[in-house]
Amino acid sequence: MSDIEARFQLDWPGFTLDVDLNLPGLGVTSLFGHSGSGKTSLLRCLAGLEKPRHGRLVFKGRTWQDANTWLPTHQRPIGYVFQEASLFPHLSILGNLQFGQKRSGGAARVGLEQAIELLGIGHLLERKPDTLSGGERQRVGIARALAVGPEILLMDEPLAALDLKRKQEILPYLERLHDELEIPVIYVSHSPDEVARLADHLVAMENGRVVAAGPLGETLARLDLPIRLGEDVGVVLEATVGEIDSEWHLARVDFRGGSLWTRDHGVPTGRHVRVRVLARDVSLALGEPGTCSIQNNLDGRVESLADDDHPGLLLVRVQVGASLLIARLTRRSAAQLGIVPGLPVRVQVKSVALME
């Protein structure tokens, strides 16, 4: 039995949501898809902000919705972060934070103090929302949702309305949430980068339907899915920092299947990290490596091939130890190399992104 069982059918003019999902009761699950794919509608159904005609929602053994049951939003133990912070303009920051906390009957599992500390907003409490920057407002919005002591946190593209700088300002806080919260988080996003950094599970949506669902690494490495990541096709590897080469400012990360060298970002040895390897940064070679600027050479075996968005390109999935990498090749080079499933290849990785 899964922790969250969700089945919704929503019929709007020009849009149908039809999902039947089991979501894990812990970790960050990302609902991923383009705008109009139904990810926000699904989130709103979970919150009870939309009332689907047919639906069934069971959260950790408690029924929130079925044919005879409808738990209104204000009675669901949720925290909800909207795309725009949507702070109450008539209340101070503290007033905003206390609004939900006062009404949650002291059941706050993540208390007000902890929420303030987690999001680093202690210095803003007396201010009014309209004196805050966009990034600060969104941090308050997240803290406000946490201060009710939710049993599940629902986040609707909390970074989408912010510019890159503000995003960079908030992402570390979200990563802290990921590490410190013991509740499930459902995170709606259309950004592959955010998904790669934050998600443990991925639910990919298209046209109101779920096209893939599963653990992040596995789901990203699937080639058969129409997850339109475009330039961002790639995999995420769970890894550990194994060695720092201080002379060349490089760090070695070890994953199940090998090691990769990347720029040293000051992450200490032994620390668990995520490494994102984009398909466009992976190339394949046969035989012994010649002289080449690429430092990362791994032994692998071609596992499968698939079409890419462009007719001249091909995606090749390669097994490296216990891990899978995806390489993007032109069809011509694949043909010249004779790439077929089972072929041993040298995998050259030009660059990797390290996410703590």
């Binding site: 902000l49 925290g79 109450f88 303009p89 609004f99 009404r103 949702a145």
Partner: protein, 225 residues
Amino acid sequence: MLTDSDLQAIWLTIRLAGITTLILLLIGTPIAWWLARSRAWWKGPVGAIVALPLVLPPSVLGFYLLLAMGPNGPFGQLTQSLGLGTLPFTFWGLVVASVFYSLPFMVQPLQNAFEGIGERPLEVAATLRASPLDTFFSVVLPLAKPGFVTAGILTFAHTVGEFGVVLMIGGNIPGVTRVASVQIYDHVEAMEYGDAHRLAAVMLIFSFAVLLAMYTRRSQPRREA
């Protein structure tokens, strides 16, 4: 200076406008809320009925109210069976008439204010454990405050400016139904132009002050969060 009967008329006008405004705050708020939120097909007809007093000649409104509140009207029979007698030509008759007459001046600004708040703050409040009633008092009321101020001022001022409906329903009984606008009419009828001037000036200054207060308040920019 103003005569005693002028002062009496002014005091009566203020009482009438004040009571009417209070009653309309209680009646108009739920109507405006419903109009702002409902998607029912009869929202249109209800909105039109609420707006009728804006375009209807006061004498028409007064005529129908007179019939309804009279001894044979449905409302008159109700008040009689309650032992209250009939309402025309009493102060409370004027209050009832004013409530109808000024209804759009309360409902429309409130409806605009409620619509301006939008769906989002209500959804936010729901996700923060606030029931719909709780949300109305803790979120909607504070956010709609400027709308309430406007609606209250307009209703009060509009009731002060009533004339036709008063004549139809209340007649011209000193201390009971003779409000300031009727008093001016009396002065003019009696060729007391000096008295009419003074009272008219008071009304003019009052009306201007009210509108001035409203327009200066409105022109202050508000920043959105």
